[in-house]
């Protein structure tokens, strides 16, 4: 029998280092969910999608779980109840109610040609989510009778789940000697009118991947560096310029850029294994240019991406988790400590987060069935705007989510491309119509 290990009710998983914090700090507004969306070339059949998800979950016992509370830490417990796919609603990265959908920590939605996966960050990061959705799409296409092959790029039921996939790689690669805490300044926050009922606005723009890469290369920068610098520049133009002397504008604009550590360390884990680099700059002059920001960003990226620095940031988190006093505090008290710590040391230190998932690869046989791939991250009270990008073939998609009504940043951002003659196609969920 070629099927994977049959998940049993005795399966349970500790939360990984990053995952431990999210259940404590997530609320209706700060949902800590993210979205991975695949647009197929044809309308999605919901019955086949349901079967495909059921099949995929057989391969991913670590996603077939629900969150349960223990005395000291929460944990993921095997979930024997069925999972159901649902039609897409207007909610973008909304809270995942643990009592809803039988306690699963992710949702699969369908609408017309879209397959949407929304996942709570405790379960996995973008790497894990993409592995899951690729398997779902593969199973879906197979069920539809398409001739597709996994080409070792997709985990299918032909392979067994390995221990490596469940491992918390943060614990593997951390260095107890190198966990110095670096104090950071609070970041400039983009303010605006909150959208009612905690709804999130979504605007995504599609441009040509080749043109995007060419544009970045013209500046001797990577795409991530270019876009990070561009975001900082747009924030400067729209939020700070001509007001740069004001007190609240003395805080640095800081962009939080997640780094997929699987690319830096030999890990195959499906769980959270990401860290970040930050690019920050105090924008208190009237004559800041884009090139100046880009140079600064490149320097900060080069520093932040050094293995030593990545390990330091990872070890800082791990050593916090391993703190004896924190560990023996009962969870209901620990929750408050985590909340205060995260607000002070997490949320308020970033202006926004920019996740570049990069090039999303599919086996060649599957490519004709897929039109585009995009990612989105929730936006909350402090990080009012977040950006997710990904590319599939020649479609580079930049998705803005926002918790405020204003779209100035999005407008100026996309106009930057159109002014250079690059063609942009916009999609929006028209949250202002709500």
């Amino acid at each position: 029998m070629a099927h994977g290990k049959v998940p049993s009710a005795n399966d349970w998983f500790r939360l990984d280092n990053a995952a431990k914090i999210f259940p404590a700090i997530s609320t209706e507004r700060e949902t800590n969910t993210f979205r991975v969306q695949i647009e197929m070339t044809e309308d999605v059949d919901k019955d086949f999608l349901q079967l495909a998800v059921d099949a995929a979950l057989e391969r991913y016992p670590m996603f077939k779980v629900r969150l349960k509370s223990g005395l000291f830490w929460n944990y993921l417990d095997y979930n024997q109840r069925p999972f159901t796919v649902r039609p897409l609603t207007h909610k973008v990265c909304g809270p995942l109610d643990p009592r809803d959908n039988n306690g699963y920590l992710f949702q699969i939605y369908y609408r017309a040609r879209l397959i949407v996966l929304e996942m709570f960050h405790s379960l996995a990061d973008g790497g894990g989510a993409f592995a899951l959705i690729k398997t779902i799409v593969y199973e879906y296409l197979t069920l539809k009778g398409c001739r597709v092959t996994p080409d070792n790029m997709i985990l299918t039921r032909d392979s067994l789940p390995t221990k490596e996939e469940y491992e918390d790689s943060n614990l593997t690669y951390y260095d107890p000697q190198n966990h110095r805490h670096v104090k950071e300044e609070r970041a400039f926050l983009v303010k605006g009118t909150p959208i009612e009922d905690g709804n999130i606005g979504l605007i995504s723009g599609t441009i040509s991947t080749a043109e995007m890469i060419a544009l970045a290369r013209n500046h001797q920068a990577s795409v991530t560096e270019y876009l990070t610098a561009l975001l900082m520049y747009i924030i400067y133009l729209t939020q700070i310029k001509y007001r740069e002397h004001l007190k609240e504008n003395q805080k640095p604009v800081k962009i939080f850029v997640p780094v997929n550590l699987r690319k830096h360390f030999p890990s195959n884990t499906l769980r959270n294994f990401a860290n970040f680099v930050k690019s920050g700059m105090v924008m208190n002059r009237a004559d800041i240019t884009f090139d100046e920001i880009l140079e600064e960003t490149k320097k900060q990226f080069a520093f932040g991406l050094q293995p030593k620095e990545l390990i330091r940031k990872m070890s800082e988190n791990v050593s916090f988790e391993k703190n004896f006093f924190l560990r023996i505090t009962p969870y209901f008290l620990k929750k408050f400590a985590l909340r205060i710590g995260y607000k002070k040391m997490g949320l308020l230190l970033n202006t926004l987060s920019f996740s570049n998932l990069g090039k999303i690869d599919f086996p060649e046989s599957m490519e004709p069935y897929i039109d585009n791939v995009s990612v989105a991250v929730y936006s909350g009270r402090f990080n009012t705007i977040n950006i997710g990008t990904s590319s599939f073939r020649d479609k580079f998609r930049i998705t803005f989510t926002r918790s405020i009504v204003e779209t100035t940043i999005e407008r100026e951002f996309f106009r930057h491309f159109t002014e250079k003659g690059i063609h942009v196609t916009i999609e929006s969920n028209y949250v202002e119509e709500y």
Partner: protein, 226 residues
């Protein structure tokens, strides 16, 4: 596909205006095509949410009323705390026991524990000296006994989900081992209810150890991992 001649972008929508600059878009709507993202559906106001608010309102108002009545005619005794305790317990029963979606063993265990706590306070603070001790002597062991029976029966009936209930059963079983200890120190003067509760709890504990050794070990490991 529509076009915004101010932002110079194409917009995939049938909406009349540009999401970036709110300028009216050029181009014809393709009404046959669905919007990429769905329309807003207002949340359905459920009976559950309304009941929650109503219960909270009635609870708060009656507590305030009781306090005012007690204080206007104050003779040195805060008698209103007894009905307030009862009202709070009713509130907990409705919120946790009826309206919440926790599993039934959790509900039974938590409601029994709170009930024991409240009755013991009433017993110690408001009972005449000669009659004091009824909550410890009878209520505590017998309600633990009842709770043990109830959760065991649920486990026997709903066998598929027994793992979900096992932990709460174990908690109540452990609580049931306390009254006989109090008997030894003469805090509890009537022995038989405590011994009955102890007997049943001991039986259940042995049953769990004999029949579900792996499940209970795993359950304890999960709940208490550091």
């Amino acid at each position: 596909m529509k076009y915004c001649d101010k932002c110079h972008v194409e917009v995939r929508t049938n909406q009349p205006y540009c999401p970036l600059c709110h300028q009216v878009l050029k181009g014809e709507s393709e009404l046959a095509r669905m919007e990429v993202y769905p329309e807003y559906v207002p949340p359905i106001r459920t009976v559950r949410a309304l009941t929650k608010k109503a219960v909270l309102f009635v609870t708060v108002v009656s507590i305030i009323t009781l306090l005012i009545v007690n204080l206007t005619d104050f003779d040195g005794r805060l008698w209103s705390l007894i009905p307030i305790g009862a009202i709070l317990y009713v509130f907990v029963i409705i919120r946790l026991g009826i309206l919440s979606r926790h599993n039934i063993a959790f509900k039974l265990a938590i409601l029994t524990t709170i009930l024991i706590a409240i009755l013991n306070v009433i017993d110690q603070e408001y009972t005449a000296e000669a009659y004091r001790g009824w909550a410890l002597d009878y209520v505590t062991p017998l309600s633990l006994l009842a709770c043990n029976i109830a959760i065991s029966v649920i486990i026997l009936i709903k066998r598929i989900n027994y793992r979900d209930y096992l932990f709460y059963l174990l908690t109540i079983v452990v609580f049931s081992l306390v009254p006989p200890v109090l008997c030894l120190f003469d805090v509890i003067r009537i022995d038989w209810p405590s011994l009955a509760a102890f007997g049943l709890a001991g039986g259940i504990l042995l049953g769990i150890i004999f029949f579900f050794p792996k499940s209970i070990k795993a359950e304890i490991k999960k709940r208490f991992h550091l």
